[in-house]
Amino acid sequence: MRAAAFILSTAVFLSAGIGGAAAQERDAAILANACMSCHGVDGKSQGVIPALAGQDAREMAQLMKDYASGAVKGTAMNFIAKGYTLDQIDAIAAFFSARK
């Protein structure tokens, strides 16, 4: 299930066509800051939207990919996760993982 979702989501992101190498050079903050409108500054959330601070980076990245592919069903995340390349997701996940 997970593997299938991964392959599917890879296809989604490749077809989105926003560059890989360039994305990695970029500071993830410009991308992660936007998530904080819902998930709280530095991923420290109040209320029912889950906190992202200190989450395991690999698990978080996988969940994002599964939201993008539809393998995991949510509300906001099934739309928002589709906006990012795999590299960008990894960078954002590393960013939130490092917030304690």
Partner: protein
């Protein structure tokens, strides 16, 4: 105010320097760069906070005319009687503690050549870069007869505060069986789904307290944001209470006679017990006075830096800009502000400007336990406008269970706590 600003504009032009030829001053490594932000709402408070969070070597001054900010988001819950105005009001103490110099005053003139802002109280501020986040102003007489005096009788409640409470009081004073009208302007206006959320929450109040009453939405458009979701909710939650009249069914309000209590569309005169008139809008006056809207009502900006296309060194975010595929929302203003703040730091520190992705979500309540949303992710497009990223724009599904609607209502609350903490905590 306008004449002073116009004079500055003329001086700049006469000096042979068109606004576009002006370049912001070079900032030397040892100097502390100075950024002035005008407007302490969703856009401006966010820019100020994110400038400091990104680089605390920058001096940030925030000019806001009011001591407290009342958010338009969640103000429809105050109109509907489901929340207090205190619960949506915020002071600037935490902004100050974050190192922002908050000045409570009104900016009345900008000299883009000398890079100076004049405040009503007489203070003059200089800047290396200026951010304008003045939000909207209402276009008085955009609907014939609807001016500031008329809004004391027929509130707009489209800038939250006393107007919100006035509309609430009128609903409370109304007898059971009364007619409520909500008049909606043509696009573009602040918060596309806002009027329909308001209609829903007023309908909730009527159903529980004045069940013989009716609400008519008079619309200058043929379609509206999240229309199927709102109409589904009206049918299920408020049958027989809410009626929506599009432009083609004489929905567009063309004039009001506030004293006589008359609201006129193209073909009908209505005499509602409570009239909520939402007039057409344009960018806040400080941006218009400087000509940053090029006569079009809203200002075009570079989507990576949010710098004006007309006046280099002056950035704009929020409702005052032409936002491309983004709506005019508090969420969008906050997302733009974060990108703008990082771009300003990059420009001041001679670093390359980063490539952003912006987000927006507009949550709406049809009742306090019934929420739904429109989502989207955006990027700078090839045409220089903000475009949506394919596959990211969509809404909550039709026909969702009551539990799912209740969950999204709770997500909306969590969003509100987090975004207001982003600015004011």
């Amino acid at each position: 105010m306008t004449s002073l600003t116009r004079r500055n504009f003329v001086v700049a032009a006469a000096a042979g320097a068109t606004l576009a030829a002006l370049r912001p001053a070079r900032v030397f490594a040892q100097a502390r760069p100075r950024v002035v932000v005008i407007g302490g709402g969703f856009g401006g408070a966010s820019v100020a906070r994110w400038l400091r969070r990104t680089d605390d070597g920058i001096d940030v001054t925030l000019v806001e005319r009011n001591a407290r900010f009342v958010t338009c988001p969640f103000s429809n819950l105050v109109v509907g009687g489901q929340r207090s105005i205190e619960s949506i009001s915020f002071g600037y103490d935490a902004v100050r503690r974050a190192g922002v110099d908050v000045v409570q005053d009104t900016a009345t003139a900008i000299d883009p050549v000398a890079r100076r802002v004049t405040l009503q109280g007489g203070r003059v501020l200089t800047y290396d870069r200026l951010v304008l986040a003045p939000g909207i102003q209402l276009v008085w007489n955009g609907i014939e007869g609807y001016d500031e005096a008329a809004s004391d009788i027929m509130p707009h409640a489209w800038q939250a505060g006393p107007q919100t409470l006035l509309l609430r009081r009128k609903l409370e004073a109304m007898d059971d069986g009364g007619l409520v009208v909500v008049a909606v302007p043509d696009n573009p206006y602040r918060c596309p789904p806002g009027p329909y959320e308001r209609a829903s929450l007023i309908a909730g109040y009527l159903k529980a307290n004045k069940p013989k009453s009716k609400l008519i939405v008079l619309d200058a458009k043929e379609t509206f944001s999240k229309q199927p979701l709102f109409q589904e909710a009206w049918k299920n939650l408020y049958p027989g209470i809410v009626e929506w009249r599009p432009k083609s069914q004489s929905g567009r309000v063309v004039s009001v006679k506030a004293r006589e209590g008359v609201v006129s569309t193209e073909f009908d005169d209505l005499k509602p017990a409570v009239a909520n008139i939402i007039p057409p809008q344009r960018a806040g006056q400080i941006a218009i006075a400087l000509g940053l809207d090029e006569g079009k009502g809203f200002c075009t900006v570079d989507p990576r830096t949010f710098e004006s296309k007309v006046a280099p060194g002056i950035h704009l975010v929020g409702d005052a800009i032409v936002p491309g595929a983004m709506p005019k929302s508090g969420f969008a203003a906050n997302s733009q502000a974060k990108v703008c703040a990082r771009a300003i730091v990059s420009l001041l520190r001679s670093r390359p400007v980063e490539e952003p992705i912006l987000l927006n979500t507009c949550y709406s309540y049809a009742a306090t336990d019934h929420g739904f949303a429109i989502f989207g992710a955006f990027r700078p497009g090839d045409t220089g406008l903000i475009v949506d990223i394919p596959g990211t724009v969509g809404t909550s599904p039709l026909g969702a269970s009551a539990q799912d609607r209740a969950l999204e209502a709770r997500y909306a609350e969590s969003w509100y706590s987090n975004i207001t903490a982003d600015m004011f905590a």
